[in-house]
């Protein structure tokens, strides 16, 4: 249907975006409303994913299991193994508060764990005690709810002081139909009203004697006042929201509306007689829940599905949803207009007739195109249909208004049909393109003989040439299947230069045809004085046009004058962003040139030369008559002397090793030991030597 993918090609950029805005503004912001279907079931399976066989807390487990139960997905077997022990533990523990017991009993009502009657009786008596002592709405809610679940298990539960409990709960109500959470809090809340109504319904069904009719009547009035505070969106959906937004307690319209629906439908089940709620409000609430589509969070999905299941068969009025399975009707494939009327979960509606009150074109505010067409019913597919071909509807966007009439007049109170329903639909068809001509004209009035015919059903390869004194002219006609003139949303002519600089022109339409005349004299500056080959492309598109196209028409060789000094430069073209992942420029590093070393032979020669003086030293020593005469002769001093000289030699060896491969720390470590040794030995040797010299002297 849509040509938007075509038009959204990178190079159409701004104009394509503008067209999208125009198209979206003409739709009055309504979400398409369809009953609950397979998509919700898949979404539930995707969102509610158990980790290690459980969904988390018991509250979350209940949300998951109840959603799956309503949508018909079997999950109990998977979950009961890990969750039943938790439930049993909570029910048997003496420290569980009413909230824990309530959630445990709720989950158990779906899973059906093996719990013996004694546990239930103990829990029931605990909850009865809570009801006697408390005056908080939430405690009442948990306790009464818990007792209802226990009663379902077959245990006989009676609320002894039904009237008293009823009064305690009713005492928390406010004059505008809202409820407070307990007698201490000053703020009232719509969400609490939903909880209170549900709890009152539970009290009425559990009480030992029947609750007085007048009391029921008072609550019915409260409900009417509560419904006076309902809010609405532009598309006709209705919802409940809190009056004051308290950041910590704010629950959002979905949760608040879900709570009210729960409360009202529960109360309607136990109350005799009718609740005075207009059918339109129930339908508006149903539409609100359906218009969300598929929620993204588990809590929202649970609220939506659970509220809709309460609305599916409630005692106030059951909403019937009228929707179009397909909003696009093609004249080419001779589609029929199909309308579905079902309950919110897609179940069959009672016998009824759908009538199309009016069909008018969305863009014209004038007279409707069709009026009062009755749709025929196909009982095999439970669909109401209408053949539109004989009705001579042309392509375009239409606003259709439908009305439902129930066959059985008694159903008027049971079902909410909602009066007139407005829906949007597209009729699409194949548009014929006729009398297409293109040519180059002189600036004085050109004659039409220079124009050549163009076949716009396929790409062309024209080769035109023009200078700045000439004009390019293109014209064609667009005809709908019914033979009328067609004005699509997008008719663009694009000229693209070899350097990828583009210029887009919108073609104007006169009464009978689309045409454009590009006067190059005036466009020279816009083209940045770029001469050369320009590729020509034509785009024609519309939502109702099945054969929207983008055609390459060939190229035109433009000869434009030289740019003056101050001319604007063409904008830089975007670089392919993937180029940055290619190989980069080679970097040539500049290293520090290594120092010039002397030739090896020179170095070796000087090494030898440096060792020469040592030889000279030794020769000199010998010439001087060095001798070892005063070397000690007796063993112990001799040993010390030898050790002294050896020690010095070892230290020098250590230094050589240090130079070659050791580091300073190891050397110092070695030196420490050797130094101590050397000092000791040297001291002994030298003192012996000194003493012998002194003895010689004195003698």
């Amino acid at each position: 249907m849509s040509i938007f993918p075509l038009a959204m090609a990178r190079n159409l950029g701004l104009l394509g975006f503008l067209a999208l805005i125009y198209a979206s503004l003409s739709i009055p912001g309504a979400a398409v409303i369809r009953p609950i279907n397979e998509a919700h079931r898949s979404a539930a399976l995707e969102l509610f994913v158990p980790t290690h066989g459980s969904f988390g807390s018991l509250e979350e487990t209940y949300e998951a299991l109840r959603t799956f139960q309503i949508l018909g997905v079997e999950k109990s077997a998977e979950i009961s193994h890990a969750t039943c022990p938790v439930i049993v533990e909570k029910l048997e523990s003496s420290s569980s508060i009413s909230k824990d017991l309530f959630h445990a009993l709720r989950v158990n009502s779906i899973l059906g764990c093996q719990i013996d009657a004694r546990t239930f009786e103990d829990v029931a008596s605990k909850l009865q005690a809570v009801i006697k002592d408390t005056n908080s709405l939430l405690d009442f809610h948990y306790a009464v709810g818990g007792l209802l679940y226990i009663k379902d298990q077959g245990i006989n539960v009676i609320l002894s002081d039904g009237d008293g409990t009823f009064h305690s709960i009713k005492a928390l109500s406010q004059s505008d139909g809202r409820w407070r959470y307990d007698s201490n809090s000053a703020e009232s809340s719509t969400y609490a009203a939903g909880i209170a109504l549900e709890t009152i319904a539970g009290v009425v069904s559990l009480a030992d004697k029947v609750v007085d009719e007048s009391k029921i009547g008072i609550v019915k009035n409260d409900i009417v006042k509560l419904f006076d505070s309902i809010k609405s969106y532009d598309d006709g959906t209705l919802y409940f929201d809190e009056k004051h937004v308290d950041a910590s307690e704010y629950k959002g319209p979905l949760t608040t509306s879900a709570s009210v629906v729960r409360g009202v439908t529960a109360f309607a089940t136990v109350a005799s007689g009718r609740l005075n709620i207009p059918n339109d409000k129930m339908l508006g609430l149903a539409k609100f829940f359906l218009s969300i589509g598929i929620p993204g969070s588990t809590k929202d999905l649970f609220d939506q599905i659970e509220s809709l299941s309460r609305l599916e068969n409630n005692r106030v009025s059951i909403p019937l949803i009228l929707s179009l399975p397909s909003t696009v009707l093609s004249l080419t494939s001779k589609d029929q207009l199909k309308v579905e009327v079902t309950t919110v979960f897609g179940s069959a509606a009672p016998p009824l007739t759908v009538r199309m009150v009016q069909a008018s074109r969305s863009d014209s505010k004038g007279t409707p195109v069709l009026e009062n067409q009755e749709l025929q019913f196909d009982s095999e597919n439970t669909i109401h249909y209408l053949d539109i071909i004989p009705l001579k509807l042309d392509v375009g966007k239409y606003t259709l208004i439908f009305e439902i009439s129930l066959h059985d007049p008694e159903n008027t109170n049971t079902y909410a049909t909602g009066g007139r329903t407005r829906l949007m639909a597209f009729v699409t068809g194949s548009i014929k393109i006729d009398k297409a001509e293109i040519g180059i004209l002189e600036s004085d009035a050109g004659n039409s003989e220079t124009l050549q015919k163009l076949d716009l059903s396929r790409d062309s390869t024209l080769s035109l040439s023009a200078n700045h004194l000439q004009k390019l002219r293109l014209s064609f006609q667009l005809i709908t299947p019914l033979g009328h003139n067609f004005k699509p949303h997008q008719v663009f002519l694009k000229l693209r230069h070899e350097t990828n600089v583009e210029h887009i022109f919108v073609m104007e339409s006169s009464a009978r045809q689309f045409k454009i005349t590009l006067d190059f004299l005036g466009l020279v500056e816009r083209f940045y004085y770029l001469s050369g080959k320009y590729k020509i492309e034509l785009t024609v598109g519309d939502a109702a046009m099945e054969n929207s196209f983008l055609r390459a028409l060939g190229h035109v060789e433009l000869d434009l004058p030289e740019p003056p000094e101050k001319a604007a430069h063409p904008p830089p073209q975007p670089v392919d962003p993937y180029l940055r992942f290619g190989p980069k420029q080679e970097i040539s590093h500049i290293f520090r040139a290594p120092e010039k070393r002397p030739p090896k032979e020179l170095s070796l020669a000087f090494l030898a030369l440096t060792l020469l003086p040592f030889v000279g030293f030794l020769i000199g020593l010998m010439r001087l008559g060095v001798n070892l005469k005063s070397f000690p002769s007796s063993t112990v001093p001799a040993a010390f002397s030898i050790l002294f000289h050896v020690g010095i030699a070892v230290v020098l060896l250590l230094y050589v090793l240090f130079w070659l491969k050791l580091d300073l720390f190891t050397t110092l470590k070695g030196l420490g030991f050797l130094g101590v040794f050397l000092v000791f030995v040297g001291h002994r040797t030298l003192s012996y030597h000194a003493s012998t010299t002194a003895k010689l002297k004195s003698s």
Partner: protein, 115 residues
């Protein structure tokens, strides 16, 4: 007069020689050692003059090792010389021990700086 100056110089040298011959042997050993160290230093400087001072730390450590050991030897000579009244009470073995120790420390530093 030139002849007298040259003969004066010759006489000076001869008297120096005879005086030097009278020094004790151990002092002569030390003097020989000093000469040896200085000659080594000079050879290293000549080498550096030829090839340039590229590993400057090596050059420095080499030259300073020679110079340092020269200095220590001169100190030893002063302390050991019996005619030196200042160090009369210092036993020569003690001076020699100081000489050995200081040399070892000097050469540790030199080896570290040699690179």
């Amino acid at each position: 007069m030139a002849k007298s100056t040259s003969s004066d110089a010759q006489m000076l040298i001869r008297s120096l020689r005879t005086a030097y011959a009278a020094t004790p042997t151990n002092l002569k050993i030390i003097d020989l050692y000093v000469v040896y160290a200085i000659v080594t230093a000079v050879i290293q400087v000549v080498y550096m003059g030829i090839v340039g001072s590229f590993p400057f730390n090596s050059f420095l450590s080499g030259v300073l090792s020679c110079v340092g050991t020269t200095v220590l030897a001169v100190c030893l000579r002063i302390q050991v010389n019996k005619e030196n009244k200042e160090f009369k009470d210092l036993p020569p073995e003690r001076a020699f021990a100081d000489f050995v120790l200081c040399n070892l420390v000097l050469h540790l530093v030199i080896m570290n700086f040699l690179g």
